[in-house]
Amino acid sequence: MAFQINLGGEGEISGVLNQQGRWVVTAFGWRSSQTGESIAELVRSRHDFLIADNVALPLPDRVADEVITNNIPPVDSITWLGPTVQSSEIRRILKSGGRWIHNGVVRFIKP
Protein backbone atom coordinates (compact mmCIF):
# COMPACT_ATOMS: atom_id res chain seq x y z
CA MET A 1 0.00 0.00 0.00
CA ALA A 2 1.39 3.39 -1.00
CA PHE A 3 2.41 5.73 1.79
CA GLN A 4 0.97 9.12 0.92
CA ILE A 5 1.72 12.25 2.92
CA ASN A 6 -0.48 15.27 2.51
CA LEU A 7 1.19 18.55 3.40
CA GLY A 8 -1.61 20.56 1.84
CA GLY A 9 -2.48 23.93 3.18
CA GLU A 10 -6.25 24.16 3.29
CA GLY A 11 -7.36 20.60 3.50
CA GLU A 12 -8.55 19.65 0.07
CA ILE A 13 -9.35 16.22 1.44
CA SER A 14 -8.28 15.80 4.98
CA GLY A 15 -8.39 19.16 6.65
CA VAL A 16 -4.63 19.44 6.77
CA LEU A 17 -3.14 21.67 9.37
CA ASN A 18 0.06 22.62 7.68
CA GLN A 19 0.92 26.32 7.83
CA GLN A 20 -1.42 26.95 10.69
CA GLY A 21 0.18 28.69 13.62
CA ARG A 22 0.64 26.43 16.61
CA TRP A 23 -1.69 28.61 18.65
CA VAL A 24 -4.66 27.44 16.64
CA VAL A 25 -3.97 23.75 17.09
CA THR A 26 -6.55 22.81 19.66
CA ALA A 27 -9.05 20.03 19.39
CA PHE A 28 -12.05 22.31 19.21
CA GLY A 29 -10.68 25.74 18.43
CA TRP A 30 -9.35 25.33 14.93
CA ARG A 31 -11.62 24.84 11.98
CA SER A 32 -10.41 24.04 8.51
CA SER A 33 -10.87 26.68 5.83
CA GLN A 34 -12.55 24.37 3.40
CA THR A 35 -15.14 22.50 5.35
CA GLY A 36 -15.36 24.20 8.70
CA GLU A 37 -14.77 20.94 10.55
CA SER A 38 -12.89 20.95 13.81
CA ILE A 39 -9.94 18.66 14.46
CA ALA A 40 -12.10 16.55 16.73
CA GLU A 41 -14.63 16.12 13.96
CA LEU A 42 -11.95 15.20 11.46
CA VAL A 43 -10.45 12.63 13.80
CA ARG A 44 -13.88 11.09 14.25
CA SER A 45 -14.11 10.77 10.48
CA ARG A 46 -10.87 8.74 10.55
CA HIS A 47 -8.29 11.29 9.52
CA ASP A 48 -4.80 10.97 10.96
CA PHE A 49 -2.79 14.02 11.91
CA LEU A 50 0.88 14.59 12.47
CA ILE A 51 1.45 17.85 14.28
CA ALA A 52 5.08 18.76 13.90
CA ASP A 53 7.65 21.29 12.83
CA ASN A 54 7.16 21.75 9.09
CA VAL A 55 10.74 22.80 8.43
CA ALA A 56 12.21 19.54 9.75
CA LEU A 57 9.65 16.84 9.07
CA PRO A 58 9.81 14.10 11.73
CA LEU A 59 9.91 11.33 9.14
CA PRO A 60 12.75 9.06 8.07
CA ASP A 61 14.49 9.29 4.72
CA ARG A 62 12.89 7.62 1.70
CA VAL A 63 9.62 6.68 3.37
CA ALA A 64 6.94 8.27 1.21
CA ASP A 65 5.59 7.14 -2.14
CA GLU A 66 3.84 10.43 -2.68
CA VAL A 67 3.86 13.87 -1.11
CA ILE A 68 0.97 16.18 -1.88
CA THR A 69 1.00 19.94 -1.45
CA ASN A 70 -2.15 21.77 -2.45
CA ASN A 71 -2.90 25.41 -1.76
CA ILE A 72 0.11 25.94 0.45
CA PRO A 73 2.27 29.03 0.78
CA PRO A 74 5.30 28.98 -1.54
CA VAL A 75 7.80 26.34 -0.45
CA ASP A 76 11.17 27.46 0.86
CA SER A 77 9.84 30.82 1.95
CA ILE A 78 8.49 32.67 4.98
CA THR A 79 4.98 33.96 5.61
CA TRP A 80 3.43 35.69 8.56
CA LEU A 81 2.82 32.22 10.00
CA GLY A 82 6.52 31.39 9.90
CA PRO A 83 8.76 29.33 7.63
CA THR A 84 7.03 27.27 4.96
CA VAL A 85 7.61 23.68 3.88
CA GLN A 86 11.13 23.00 2.64
CA SER A 87 11.53 21.32 -0.73
CA SER A 88 14.68 19.63 0.56
CA GLU A 89 12.57 17.86 3.18
CA ILE A 90 10.05 16.71 0.62
CA ARG A 91 12.86 15.32 -1.52
CA ARG A 92 14.42 13.66 1.51
CA ILE A 93 11.36 11.73 2.63
CA LEU A 94 10.41 10.51 -0.86
CA LYS A 95 11.34 7.00 -1.90
CA SER A 96 13.17 6.46 -5.16
CA GLY A 97 10.49 6.87 -7.80
CA GLY A 98 8.31 8.75 -5.35
CA ARG A 99 6.41 11.78 -6.58
CA TRP A 100 5.81 15.27 -5.24
CA ILE A 101 2.47 16.52 -6.53
CA HIS A 102 1.72 20.20 -6.19
CA ASN A 103 -1.81 21.41 -6.96
CA GLY A 104 -2.40 18.28 -8.98
CA VAL A 105 0.78 18.63 -11.03
CA VAL A 106 3.82 16.38 -10.66
CA ARG A 107 6.58 18.71 -9.59
CA PHE A 108 9.33 16.23 -8.83
CA ILE A 109 10.04 12.53 -9.20
CA LYS A 110 12.84 11.24 -7.05
CA PRO A 111 15.51 9.43 -9.09
Binding site: G9, E10, S33, G104
Partner: protein
Protein backbone atom coordinates in the same frame (compact mmCIF):
# COMPACT_ATOMS: atom_id res chain seq x y z
CA UNK B 1 -14.57 34.31 -15.43
CA UNK B 2 -11.35 32.71 -14.19
CA UNK B 3 -9.04 35.70 -14.14
CA UNK B 4 -7.64 35.27 -10.64
CA UNK B 5 -7.88 31.50 -10.73
CA UNK B 6 -5.73 31.54 -13.87
CA UNK B 7 -3.02 33.14 -11.75
CA UNK B 8 -3.22 30.18 -9.39
CA UNK B 9 -3.12 27.75 -12.31
CA UNK B 10 -0.11 29.41 -13.88
CA UNK B 11 1.80 29.57 -10.65
CA UNK B 12 0.98 25.94 -9.96
CA UNK B 13 2.26 24.54 -13.20
CA UNK B 14 3.98 27.00 -15.49
CA UNK B 15 7.72 26.33 -15.17
CA UNK B 16 8.48 29.85 -16.39
CA UNK B 17 6.88 31.46 -13.36
CA UNK B 18 6.38 28.90 -10.62
CA UNK B 19 9.88 29.29 -9.22
CA UNK B 20 9.78 33.07 -9.35
CA UNK B 21 9.00 34.07 -5.75
CA UNK B 22 7.49 37.44 -6.68
CA UNK B 23 5.69 36.65 -9.92
CA UNK B 24 2.33 35.88 -8.34
CA UNK B 25 2.41 39.04 -6.25
CA UNK B 26 3.20 41.20 -9.27
CA UNK B 27 0.58 39.49 -11.38
CA UNK B 28 -2.00 39.90 -8.63
CA UNK B 29 -1.62 43.68 -8.69
CA UNK B 30 -1.98 43.69 -12.48
CA UNK B 31 -5.20 41.70 -12.26
CA UNK B 32 -6.65 43.86 -9.51
CA UNK B 33 -6.05 46.93 -11.67
CA UNK B 34 -8.36 45.51 -14.31
CA UNK B 35 -10.98 44.26 -11.84
CA UNK B 36 -13.81 45.99 -9.95
CA UNK B 37 -11.64 45.81 -6.83
CA UNK B 38 -9.47 48.52 -5.40
CA UNK B 39 -5.97 47.59 -4.21
CA UNK B 40 -5.99 49.09 -0.72
CA UNK B 41 -2.83 49.90 1.17
CA UNK B 42 -2.44 50.94 4.79
CA UNK B 43 -2.77 54.68 5.22
CA UNK B 44 -5.21 55.14 2.36
CA UNK B 45 -8.63 56.59 3.23
CA UNK B 46 -11.60 54.36 3.98
CA UNK B 47 -14.89 54.97 2.17
CA UNK B 48 -16.99 57.20 4.43
CA UNK B 49 -20.30 56.35 2.78
CA UNK B 50 -22.03 53.04 2.32
CA UNK B 51 -20.45 49.70 3.01
CA UNK B 52 -16.82 48.93 2.56
CA UNK B 53 -15.40 45.42 2.49
CA UNK B 54 -11.68 44.73 2.80
CA UNK B 55 -10.69 41.28 1.57
CA UNK B 56 -7.26 39.76 2.14
CA UNK B 57 -6.32 36.83 -0.07
CA UNK B 58 -3.41 34.49 -0.69
CA UNK B 59 -2.33 34.06 -4.29
CA UNK B 60 -1.29 30.48 -3.49
CA UNK B 61 -4.83 29.60 -2.47
CA UNK B 62 -6.98 28.42 -5.35
CA UNK B 63 -9.98 28.87 -3.10
CA UNK B 64 -9.18 32.56 -2.56
CA UNK B 65 -8.52 33.18 -6.23
CA UNK B 66 -11.73 31.48 -7.30
CA UNK B 67 -13.61 33.46 -4.69
CA UNK B 68 -12.38 36.76 -6.15
CA UNK B 69 -13.47 35.68 -9.62
CA UNK B 70 -16.93 34.83 -8.32
CA UNK B 71 -17.27 38.10 -6.44
CA UNK B 72 -16.04 40.14 -9.41
CA UNK B 73 -18.57 38.47 -11.67
CA UNK B 74 -21.41 39.03 -9.24
CA UNK B 75 -20.37 42.63 -8.63
CA UNK B 76 -20.25 43.47 -12.32
CA UNK B 77 -23.63 41.87 -12.92
CA UNK B 78 -25.41 43.59 -10.07
CA UNK B 79 -23.56 46.92 -10.04
CA UNK B 80 -23.71 47.21 -6.28
CA UNK B 81 -22.49 50.78 -6.28
CA UNK B 82 -23.02 51.38 -2.58
CA UNK B 83 -20.32 48.88 -1.68
CA UNK B 84 -16.60 49.50 -1.95
CA UNK B 85 -14.48 46.38 -2.30
CA UNK B 86 -10.89 46.85 -1.25
CA UNK B 87 -8.47 43.95 -1.54
CA UNK B 88 -4.92 43.16 -0.52
CA UNK B 89 -2.44 40.34 -0.81
CA UNK B 90 -1.64 38.73 2.54
CA UNK B 91 1.90 38.24 1.28
CA UNK B 92 2.32 41.95 1.99
CA UNK B 93 2.19 41.06 5.69
CA UNK B 94 5.51 39.72 6.83
CA UNK B 95 4.36 39.17 10.40
CA UNK B 96 1.03 38.70 12.12
CA UNK B 97 1.38 42.18 13.60
CA UNK B 98 1.28 43.69 10.11
CA UNK B 99 -2.41 42.83 9.84
CA UNK B 100 -3.14 45.50 12.41
CA UNK B 101 -2.59 48.01 9.61
CA UNK B 102 -5.53 46.47 7.76
CA UNK B 103 -8.01 45.54 10.45
CA UNK B 104 -8.50 47.30 13.79
CA UNK B 105 -8.57 45.48 17.06
CA UNK B 106 -6.69 42.49 18.47
CA UNK B 107 -7.14 40.09 15.58
CA UNK B 108 -4.93 37.07 15.07
CA UNK B 109 -4.89 36.00 11.45
CA UNK B 110 -4.56 32.27 10.95
CA UNK B 111 -6.40 31.60 7.71
CA UNK B 112 -7.41 33.20 4.46
CA UNK B 113 -9.44 34.80 3.11
CA UNK B 114 -9.80 37.61 5.61
CA UNK B 115 -12.80 39.92 5.40
CA UNK B 116 -13.65 43.10 7.28
CA UNK B 117 -16.84 45.14 6.96
CA UNK B 118 -17.10 48.91 7.47
CA UNK B 119 -20.42 50.77 7.53
CA UNK B 120 -20.48 54.52 6.93
CA UNK B 121 -16.76 54.59 7.57
CA UNK B 122 -16.95 52.69 10.85
CA UNK B 123 -15.45 49.25 11.36
CA UNK B 124 -18.21 46.73 11.96
CA UNK B 125 -16.99 43.13 11.89
CA UNK B 126 -14.26 40.70 10.86
CA UNK B 127 -14.13 37.09 9.71
CA UNK B 128 -11.44 34.78 8.33
CA UNK B 129 -11.08 31.39 6.67
CA UNK B 130 -14.12 29.35 5.86
CA UNK B 131 -16.40 31.69 7.81
CA UNK B 132 -15.23 34.68 5.76
CA UNK B 133 -15.66 32.80 2.51
CA UNK B 134 -19.18 31.76 3.40
CA UNK B 135 -20.16 35.28 4.44
CA UNK B 136 -18.74 36.81 1.26
CA UNK B 137 -20.60 34.24 -0.83
CA UNK B 138 -23.80 35.17 0.98
CA UNK B 139 -23.18 38.91 0.78
CA UNK B 140 -22.60 38.87 -2.97
CA UNK B 141 -25.22 36.22 -3.58
CA UNK B 142 -22.88 33.84 -5.36
CA UNK B 143 -24.29 30.80 -3.65
CA UNK B 144 -24.53 28.92 -6.89
CA UNK B 145 -20.80 29.06 -7.32
CA UNK B 146 -19.21 26.14 -5.55
CA UNK B 147 -15.87 27.70 -4.71
CA UNK B 148 -14.34 24.75 -2.92
CA UNK B 149 -15.73 22.18 -5.33
CA UNK B 150 -14.42 24.11 -8.30
CA UNK B 151 -10.87 24.15 -6.96
CA UNK B 152 -10.92 20.57 -5.75
CA UNK B 153 -12.27 19.30 -9.05
CA UNK B 154 -9.58 21.19 -10.91
CA UNK B 155 -6.81 19.70 -8.77
CA UNK B 156 -8.22 16.20 -9.06
CA UNK B 157 -8.59 16.65 -12.79
CA UNK B 158 -4.96 17.63 -13.15
CA UNK B 159 -3.87 14.69 -11.05
CA UNK B 160 -5.93 12.21 -13.08
CA UNK B 161 -4.62 13.65 -16.34
CA UNK B 162 -1.06 12.64 -15.49
Amino acid sequence: MTTFFDLFVAHSSDPDVRDDPTWADRRFLELVATSPFHPWRPGEPVAAKGERILIGVATWSGYDMRLLDAIAEAYLQTQVDFTTIDVFNVADCGTSNDFACYYPGPIQITQTPTAGLWKEGQFDSFLQGQAARQELIRFFDVGSVEIVGFVNDWIKGRALAQ
